[in-house]
């Protein structure tokens, strides 16, 4: 690895902690980012000559703070500083280095402001990728398939909303910390899903698919800060187990390959092993949560070497648990797929019929309904359901998959 690549990786990994600490000092996101940017430039000059520091994040915080304070002084803005805290002596940085809980709350605060309830989901993701992950506006714009200018505007808007929202800077109490953690987990899963749903689409440089890796990296960061939170273990496991299937989810033409038809040899074993270890770890806490249950379902699929070996009865039970934790028609729909395997298509169909109103605009509802009707030999009704599904498909791959069912129906009826 070249020196430059090493420094790049060191800066990326130090970023959440360094920007988090600088944000606490300056209470201004733009200033914190600028200070980090300036410190990074200095690192690019300094580190190759003097060797990398033992603790790159502390180095960047110290240097970034000094550069920013000098800049503020030059602008004659020192009166605007809220307290003397900003002019503290270098040994406070030593204390900072030793204070792991500060570090933890800094990173959590930084992640938390990105998922502030005032921000719509699209702004949350963009802000987190910019501020915490340090992706460039251009990279994020590519991942969202919008112009650089539009993305710049989205991020600026998000930042001003965050500034207006006034997130408190004192260390959060246990209840508040728990709430922040939940919000952050949701935001990380949003980043993941943005990448996951994009997989298989035309994604020339892989900018969208890379969001899955970034979400997993953020989850590991969170897990290192909160090593005994079973839901964070569950979230990380869930993403690893889902992402492991990516190489098998689409055929050469970009068509959807259903779980049952996937070449399991192409699943990423390393990710599966890590995901299984994490879900096992989480379950030992006996504090059930939605991410853990979903990860446990994904784990049962991952453990089955062939689709016939899938433990559908257990999956049915887990979906029942998820229904009670997080009742939603989509969860019931997913459960129906397991019920069809365990108790047959008639029972599953009866289960989803009451969802028809609430899922009237949902592609997968009609896909599942069509498949169940087909299994029951009710081909005319199946055809109607599949046609409804095609009308609601959001990606070309989804539509093509349903069309395949329809083509088969037409062929059989001849």
């Amino acid at each position: 690895m070249t020196e430059l690549a090493w420094i790049g990786a060191a800066l990326t990994s130090a970023r959440p902690r360094a920007v988090g600490a600088l944000y606490r000092h300056f209470r201004n996101l733009d200033l914190a980012e600028e200070a980090f940017q300036d410190a990074s430039l200095r690192a690019l000059k300094n580190w190759p000559q003097n060797g990398p520091p033992r603790d790159p994040a502390s180095w960047l915080i110290f240097v970034g703070k000094n550069i920013a304070i000098d800049a503020l002084r030059r602008q004659g803005k020192q009166e605007a500083l809220p307290s003397d805290e900003r002019l503290e002596a270098p040994d406070t940085d030593l204390a900072e280095r030793l204070d792991a809980s500060n570090y933890r709350d800094d990173v959590l605060r930084l992640l938390f402001i990105c998922c502030h309830p005032d921000l719509p989901a699209s702004q949350q993701i963009a802000l987190a990728l910019r501020v915490v992950s340090g992706l460039s506006v251009k990279q994020i714009a590519r991942a969202f398939l919008i112009t650089d200018a539009a993305m710049e505007q989205r991020i600026t808007r998000a930042k001003s909303r965050v500034a207006a929202a006034d997130v408190p800077f004192e260390a959060p109490g246990p209840g508040e910390r728990e709430q922040r953690l939940t919000a952050v987990a949701t935001m990380i899963y949003l980043v993941f899903n943005e990448g996951y749903s994009a997989a298989g689409e035309r994604d020339g440089d892989g900018a969208r698919g890379a969001l899955c890796d970034e979400a997993i990296r953020l989850a590991r960061l969170l897990l290192r800060l909160f090593p005994d939170e079973p839901e964070i273990m569950g979230l990380t496991a869930l993403m690893l187990l889902q992402h492991a299937r990516t190489p098998a989810r689409f055929d050469a033409d970009g068509g959807v390959v259903l779980l049952e038809d996937q070449d399991r040899g192409r699943w990423n074993r390393t990710m599966i092993v890590e995901g299984l270890a994490l879900i096992d770890k989480a379950m030992r806490h006996r504090r059930r949560g939605p991410y853990q249950v979903q990860a446990a379902i994904a784990a049962l699929h991952a453990r089955a070497e062939r689709p016939e070996e899938t433990d559908w009865a257990q999956i049915d039970l887990l979906y029942a648990a998820l229904e009670s934790l997080q009742p939603s028609p989509v969860v019931t729909l997913n459960r129906a797929v397991a019920v069809a395997k365990v108790a047959g298509p008639a029972k599953a169909l009866a289960m989803i019929e009451p969802l028809a109103d609430r899922l009237a605009g949902y592609f997968h509802f009609f896909g599942v309904r069509g498949a169940l009707l087909l299994q029951l030999g009710r081909t005319d009704e199946a055809r109607v359901a599949f046609n409804q599904a095609i009308a609601l498909a959001t990606t070309a791959a989804e539509a093509a998959h349903i069309r395949m069912h329809l083509d088969r129906l037409i062929k059989d009826s001849r």
Binding site: M1, A5, W6, G8, A9, A10, T12, S13, A14, P56, D213, R217, R220, L221, L223, R224, P227, D228, M233, T236, T270, V273, E274, L276, A277, L278, D280, K281, R284
Partner: protein, 124 residues
Amino acid sequence: MLYAILCYDSEDVVGAWTKEEDDAVIARLRLVEDKLASQGRLGPVARLLPTTSATTVRKGREAMVLDGPFAETKEQLLGFFIVECANLDEALDAARDFARASGSAGAYEVRPLGVFRPGAVRAV
């Protein structure tokens, strides 16, 4: 003589490598491995999964299971076992058996392997 060569690095930094960077490092390491293997000198090679997937069994009258990696600096790495296990509980059972058998203080960190090649060297 057999020597173990243990890898230490910042997990955050290695985790921030792109896949291409990671692959490039591994490819260069493989060249060194291949040279040793062709001389019949390479034993097992393993890459551990991140410390976030680790669980630690603290030895004591009653072994205690803790989330996370082994983090003490006053104890040193003295050895390791590679055990095939169906799940984490089986691995923890094995670690508890070792803990009871060793009868001393210390801990066993249980961490899944991402890469393992058994290699071939004589037993000592």
